[in-house]
Every structure is written in structure tokens, then in C-alpha cells.
């Protein structure tokens, strides 16, 4: 089959099924109840693109290995807009980078759709959920498959929209709607930077190039085009696209929306806010890697921001109690790792970590969804028996409402109410454990290889006269320890120890249905084995490097590094990475495995202000509120509101008043007496005749 047909097969099913489910669900209420049908259609709409992507993947490499032109195949549908120096095609590019992203998006996406059939069962918005999810998949595929930055931007905005719709999915709760707004607005700031970046690029390249410019990668990333950019322009463009990436990929300064985005249903968190959409910033940087490499200063900013974000988010993650928030900060931290590797020029490693992270983070989020699902049943059960705190009366079984391990109402997402779940939901526990070990970087699981490659590339970059990269490397090491610690804490508090919810002898959670556990198992297997695609040098050939790297004909550029690391050092770094994972996990076990929840209090006492800062998320929200939101609102209230009332409204009302006055004078002429009109006509005729005669 040819590529254009397959690309159509990838892009059309999600949008078609999304429109179908959305429109039919909107107008035919009876359709909304047919959950199995809607869910199956929605899942197929992602599974079919996955199959098409696999077909493209299998039939791919022959073309470029034989040396026929640039890598990849471009499928051009039509010219979207053409004006002057600008001519944008609606075109898609199938190459190594877009294929690997497509496989991740559709593969993980299909599993999460399957999981959602079980998770969203009985929700009144089931049809809406699947319509949005399919729309998201379409937008994301548009983003990764686009051949030019404009079509990419279409997907970029599309995923932002779907993210907004899905965070606010349960919009009747004000908290969720606010979180959705926050995500959308913060993302818009990044999108604005993207647009400015496009304008700067066009300003620099549009008139300079021979033919019309369409932001297509083939033209944009060609060496002769890049050489037209001055150093300053390249730096500005690189920084602007990086700012855009921090919006979507949740880095300092725009990461604040991601933890709040957990207000959406858990499959959404897994798909959009962990596995796919948040990696689009990394994809953008990897796609523009030749451009990024022209601005080493921007690369340094990328790496340092990534390192700072990784460390900060990891410290916050240790102090969180909401299981989804722990995972959200973990996502921010892992994305920071990816930016680190992009900043030291190892873009293919960033994509490698995108892939492994998609596996284990999706598994973790779906596992947490399974846990929350079970804890909701516990909550309902407790409510039914009148055993929730606040009910002082005795339950029917002679049980008294027990105190929770914290003040406040029962929260099905709080790890402090969980504990010992491994006995009740073994499959969830084992898959969660595998993913936890993978993200902690325990060899030979996926996270070990990708994280080790990141730290290795930072070290290597430092070795090659970029001594600041050593700082990034050290921060990476510290963050890796913290990762193992907070993920160990998350697992131990949730699944080990003894149950902490009230009346836990009688109220028992249950394992989730099979549509939910099958994706968990598949993702756990992938997070165990995914790392072998990117083996370090000393252990063998890195498949992903050969697939993506420019030196092997791929689209992802790399800096030229003269010095290499000796095999002995590399073995040492590998051992260090493994040691860190072991050490961190052992520490977590020593602290929380033995003492359980008690240790949190001790940690709070011992680390004092540091813990308080971390648990309040380093006061980012408060700082933004004080520095940006309040001045804006106050300025609008005191400066703009009077301006609007007096000047803008005054101008409008003044115009109306002037016309009214003038009309009051003019209407005197209209007497209604026929003679007056006739006289006016006669005088008019006389005047005209006189003019004709005498002039």
C-alpha cells in the first residue's frame, strides 16, 4: 500500500469517529447509553491507525538506506494557503521521528481507550469522553505527522483544546473548570511564543529564499536555509520555540498547569498529561534539532531549565499525598530529564525517554486509576454503612466511624487512606511495581537505559568543553535518587503495609475488570522491555540512535563531539546509575516500607522549611498570583474599567447624541404639508434652470 493511503488511514478514523460519536451523541440521546458500541468504535479508531503505522514502519527503511534523497516520504494533499512569499501545503511527513511518535501515540492511545471502556463505565458523559479522546488523538497525530510548522501548529492548538475539554470533563465541579481554564491559559502563553517564533522565522527567511516559503521541514532545516539565519535570529527563534515547548511540556516557568490538570478523568491524565501531549514540546525540539544546534546558548538554557524543573518537581513529589499529584509531579520531573538531554544535544535520547516514559507513566497512571476506581467503591461502601468520618452514629454492624489518618473528608485519591492494596488487587499491584521500578531506573527495566543515556550524554557534553553540563549531570543524579525515593514511597504507601481506610476488616476493595487490567499488563511488559531499544555503547548497538540519528540518515541532528568516554568510564556511569536506583529504592523501603505513614511526619520535622516549601509547591502559584494575576486584575479594575466607561462608552454615546440632536433640527423641514413640498420642488427647478442658463 502506498504511503498516502496509509497516512489517510492514520488520520481519518479518529476524526471521523470523533465527529460521529460526538454528533450522534449530541442529537440522539438514546445513543449515549450504548457504551460498549461507542467504546469499541472509539478504540478501533485508534487501533486502526496503529495498524497503519505499523505497516508504514515495517515497509519503511528500504528507501533511505539505498540513499535515495532525504529520509522520509512526504504526502502532499493540497495547497492550504498561498499568498506572496508564503505558500503552505497541507502535507504530512512520514519519517523515522514521526513514525516513532505515531506508534507511541496510537499504541499507548489504543490501550488507554480500551482501559477507558471499563473506567468510564456508567458515566453520563461516556459518549462525550470518547469523542474528545478521539479528537485528541487526531490532533496529536496531526502534530507529529505534519510536514510543516503550520500544520504542526494546527495539531498543537488542537491538543491544547482537547486537553482543556478533558480536564474540565466533569465541568459541573467548579474546581475542574478552573483547572481547565488554567491549563488553557498557561498553554496559550506558550502558543503565543510559538507564533512569534514563526513570525521571526518568516521575517528572516521569507524574502531571503528564492521560491515561496511554507515552513516545510525540507526547506527550513536544509543547511543552506539555516545558513541564512543570523546568530541572533537563530537564538531568538530557538528560545521562542523552547518557551512554546515549556508550555506544552510543563517546564519552568509554565509547568504550573500540569498538576492541576489531574482534575480530569484518570485515563486522560495517562494519555494526555503523561504519555503523549506533554511530549509534544520535546518532539518540536527534536524536529527542529538542526536549528537548535545553531544556538548553543539556547541549548544551555534548555538543559538548565530542564535540570531545575526535574529537581524541583521531584522534591515536590515527595511531599504530595494525592496519588495522581505524585505522578503529575513525577511527570514534570521526567520531562525535565528529557529537556536536559535535549539541551546537551542528545535529542534522540530525549525521544527515547519520551517512549519509555510513555510506557511506564501510562502504566502508573492507569494503575492509579485502577486504585482510585477500587477506593471509590470503598468510599461508597463506607457511605452506605454510615462509617465515613463525620457520621457519629454506630453502623449496622456495631462498627464505629473511625478516624482517618489525617483531618478532612475521605478522599479516594489520597495515599494516606490506602495501604495494603496488594492483597486485594494483585494484578494492579504487580504492574504498578514494575512501572515504579522502571521509572526508578532499576536495571534492566526501560527507565534504566533511557535515564542512563540522558545522564551519560550530559556527562559527555560536559567532557567536550561545556563544563556547565557537569552541573546538569549532577542535578540529574540527585533527581534520579529522589525519583527512586518518591516513587518507592508512592508504591509502598499504596500497596504495602496494612490498610488505613476505616473499617478495613469489613470493607474490601476489588480488582478492576479485565478491560482495565489487560492494558496494565501490556504496558508493564513494555516498560520492562522497552529499554532494550536503546542499549548503551558498551552493551551493544543502540537501535534508536541508528533509527533517528542524522549520521545514520535519520532526521534528528546531533552536535559534533570530539572527545569520547572510555569504556571503563561508561561502565562506571552505568554502575552509578544502577547504584542510584538501588540506593533510592532501598532508602524508600527503609523509610516508608518499615514505618509507613509515620515517616512523613518525621520527615516534615527533620527538614523543616525545606519540606514546607516543597509541600507548598515552592509557592509558584502564589508568586504568579501576586506578580501577574493580581496586578493584571487590579490594573484592569482601576485603570481600564474607568477608561472603558468614560472614553470608550463616552465616544459611542456621544456619537449617538450628536446624531439625535441633528435629526431633531432636520425633522422641522418635514411639515407634511404638500404645498411646502411643491414649493420646494419649484424653487429647485428654478434654481437648476438658472444654473443651466447662466453658468
Amino acid at each position: 500500500m502506498d504511503a498516502s493511503l496509509l497516512v489517510g488511514l492514520i488520520l481519518l478514523p479518529p476524526i471521523a469517529v470523533s465527529a460521529f460519536n460526538g454528533l450522534v451523541g449530541l442529537f440522539v440521546p438514546a445513543w449515549r447509553g450504548r457504551e460498549l458500541l461507542i467504546g469499541t468504535l472509539g478504540t478501533l479508531a485508534v487501533a486502526v491507525p496503529f495498524a497503519a503505522a505499523v505497516a508504514l514502519f515495517v515497509g519503511f527503511d528500504a528507501g533511505y538506506l539505498a540513499g535515495h534523497g532525504p529520509p522520509g516520504e512526504v504526502v502532499r494533499y493540497f495547497t492550504w494557503m498561498a499568498t506572496g512569499d508564503l505558500s503552505i501545503d497541507f502535507a504530512y511527513r512520514v519519517d523515522q521521528l514521526s513514525l516513532i511518535m505515531t506508534l507511541i501515540v496510537t499504541g499507548v492511545g489504543a490501550l488507554i481507550h480500551l482501559y477507558s471502556i471499563g473506567y468510564m463505565k456508567g458515566d453520563s458523559g461516556f459518549w462525550r469522553f470518547f469523542a474528545y479522546m478521539n479528537l485528541f488523538i487526531f490532533a496529536m497525530l496531526n502534530l507529529v505527522l505534519a510536514e510543516n510548522l503550520i500544520v504542526l501548529f494546527l495539531g498543537w492548538e488542537g491538543v491544547g483544546l482537547c486537553s482543556y475539554l478533558l480536564i474540565g470533563f466533569w465541568y459541573t465541579d467548579r474546581k475542574n473548570a478552573v483547572a481547565a481554564n488554567k491549563a488553557f491559559i498557561v498553554n496559550r502563553i506558550g502558543d503565543f511564543a510559538f507564533l512569534i517564533g514563526l513570525f521571526v522565522l518568516f521575517h528572516a527567511l521569507g524574502p531571503a529564499l528564492d521560491g515561496p516559503f511554507g515552513f516545510d521541514y525540507a526547506t527550513l532545516l536544509a543547511p543552506e536555509t539555516l545558513s541564512l539565519l543570523g546568530g541572533g535570529t537563530a537564538l531568538a527563534v530557538a528560545l521562542l520555540f523552547f518557551l512554546a515547548a515549556t508550555g506544552k511540556s510543563a517546564q519552568i516557568p509554565l509547568f504550573i498547569w500540569l498538576p492541576d490538570a489531574m482534575a480530569g478523568p484518570t485515563p486522560v491524565s495517562a494519555l494526555i498529561h503523561a504519555a503523549t501531549m506533554v511530549t509534544s514540546g520535546l518532539y518540536l525540539l527534536a524536529r527542529l534539532s538542526p536549528l537548535m544546534l545553531m544556538a548553543p546558548e539556547a541549548m544551555a538554557v534548555v538543559a538548565v531549565v530542564g535540570a531545575a524543573t526535574a529537581l524541583m518537581a521531584a522534591t515536590i513529589a515527595i511531599t504530595q499525598n494525592d496519588i495522581k499529584r505524585i505522578l503529575a509531579y513525577s511527570t514534570v520531573s521526567q520531562l525535565g530529564f528529557m529537556f536536559m538531554s535535549a539541551g546537551v544535544g542528545a535529542f534522540f535520547v530525549a525521544i527515547f525517554h519520551v517512549m519509555t516514559h510513555a510506557f511506564f507513566k501510562a502504566c502508573l497512571f492507569l494503575g492509579s486509576g485502577s486504585v482510585i476506581h477500587a477506593m471509590h467503591h470503598v468510599e461508597h461502601d463506607l457511605e452506605h454503612r454510615g462509617l465515613l468520618p463525620g457520621h457519629e452514629s454506630e453502623g449496622p454492624h456495631g462498627l464505629r466511624a473511625e478516624r482517618l489518618p489525617y483531618d478532612g473528608p475521605f478522599d479516594a485519591q489520597d495515599v494516606r487512606t490506602m495501604g495494603g492494596l496488594r492483597r486485594f488487587m494483585p494484578l494492579t499491584a504487580i504492574t504498578f511495581l514494575v512501572a515504579t521500578l522502571a521509572i526508578a531506573g532499576l536495571p534492566p527495566l526501560a527507565g534504566f537505559f533511557s535515564k542512563d543515556e540522558i545522564l551519560y550524554s550530559a556527562f559527555l557534553y560536559g567532557l567536550n568543553d561545556h563544563s556547565w553540563a557537569y552541573f546538569v549531570w549532577i542535578v540529574g543524579l540527585i533527581t534520579a535518587v529522589l525519583t527512586a525515593v518518591y516513587m518507592g514511597r508512592c508504591y509502598l504507601l499504596t500497596f504495602e503495609g496494612s490498610p488505613r481506610w476505616p473499617a478495613n476488616m469489613d470493607v474490601r476493595p476489588h480488582e478492576s475488570p479485565r478491560t482495565m487490567t489487560i492494558p496494565l499488563v501490556v504496558l508493564a511488559v513494555l516498560s520492562a522491555l522497552g529499554g532494550f531499544l536503546g542499549l548503551p555503547h558498551v552493551l551493544g548497538q543502540s537501535w534508536i540512535h541508528h533509527w533517528l540519528g542524522a549520521e545514520y540518515g535519520g532526521p534528528v541532528a546531533e552536535p559534533e563531539l570530539e572527545l569520547a568516554v572510555s569504556p571503563a568510564t561508561e561502565w562506571g556511569l552505568l554502575a552509578l546509575g544502577a547504584g542510584i536506583a538501588f540506593g533510592g529504592l532501598a532508602l524508600a523501603w527503609w523509610w516508608w516500607g518499615r514505618r509507613g505513614l509515620e515517616f512523613d511526619a518525621r520527615l516534615r520535622q527533620r527538614s523543616g522549611a525545606l519540606y514546607r516549601w516543597a509541600s507548598r509547591k515552592w509557592y509558584w502559584d502564589e508568586a504568579y498570583d501576586a506578580a501577574i494575576v493580581q496586578p493584571l486584575v487590579g490594573g484592569a479594575r482601576q485603570g481600564l474599567a474607568p477608561f472603558d466607561e468614560r472614553v470608550v462608552d463616552g465616544a459611542v454615546n456621544g456619537t449617538a447624541a450628536v446624531i439625535q440632536r441633528a435629526a431633531g433640527v432636520m425633522r422641522l423641514a418635514q411639515t407634511g404639508v404638500v404645498h411646502a413640498y411643491a414649493l420646494a420642488i419649484v424653487f429647485g427647478v428654478v434654481l437648476v434652470v438658472a444654473l443651466m442658463l447662466f453658468i
Binding site: Q670, G672, H675, V682
Partner: protein, 101 residues
Amino acid sequence: MPVDLNWYLSLSAVLFTLGVLGVLLRRNAIVVFLSIELMLNAVNLSLVAFSQAFGDVDGQVLVFFVMAVAAAEAAVGLAIVIALFRNRETVNIDDISLLRG
């Protein structure tokens, strides 16, 4: 002896002026109406006179059109006058100023 063109035109001008004055000065709607007809026929007269003087029938053709339009206008106008009279019991146009702004 053929009558000079100027005589016709003078008569036409006198008739037209009479019509204009009738329209401007009379209050009775029907008389105003008659005055309008007088103006139309004054113009018709000059058209015919020119036609005859130049030996060209175009002017006479135009006169037929004017007479046709005048007939139609008379029918409509008289109908309006009758309708007004039935409503207001007067044909004094000073008493009728419905379109006053």
C-alpha cells in the same frame, strides 16, 4: 398662414405657469389635481409644436405616453382623493398632513 412656433410655446408657457400657480395656491385637492393635468398638457402642447416644426414624429409619440401616464395617474389620484374624503370628510389639503416629521 402657418402659425409661428413661438405662439405655441408662449401658450404652453402660460398654461404651465397657470398650472404651477394652481398647484401652489389652491387648497382643494381636486383643483390641485386639475392644475397638474394642465401642466402636463402644456408640456404636451410644446412637444407637438416642436414635432410639427421639425417634421419629426418622436414628439407626438412621447405625447401619447404622457397622456397614458396622465390617465393612469388621474385614476389613482382620484381614488386617493375619494378615499381621503371618505375618511376625513374634507378635500382641503392643508388639513391633511399625515407625513409630518
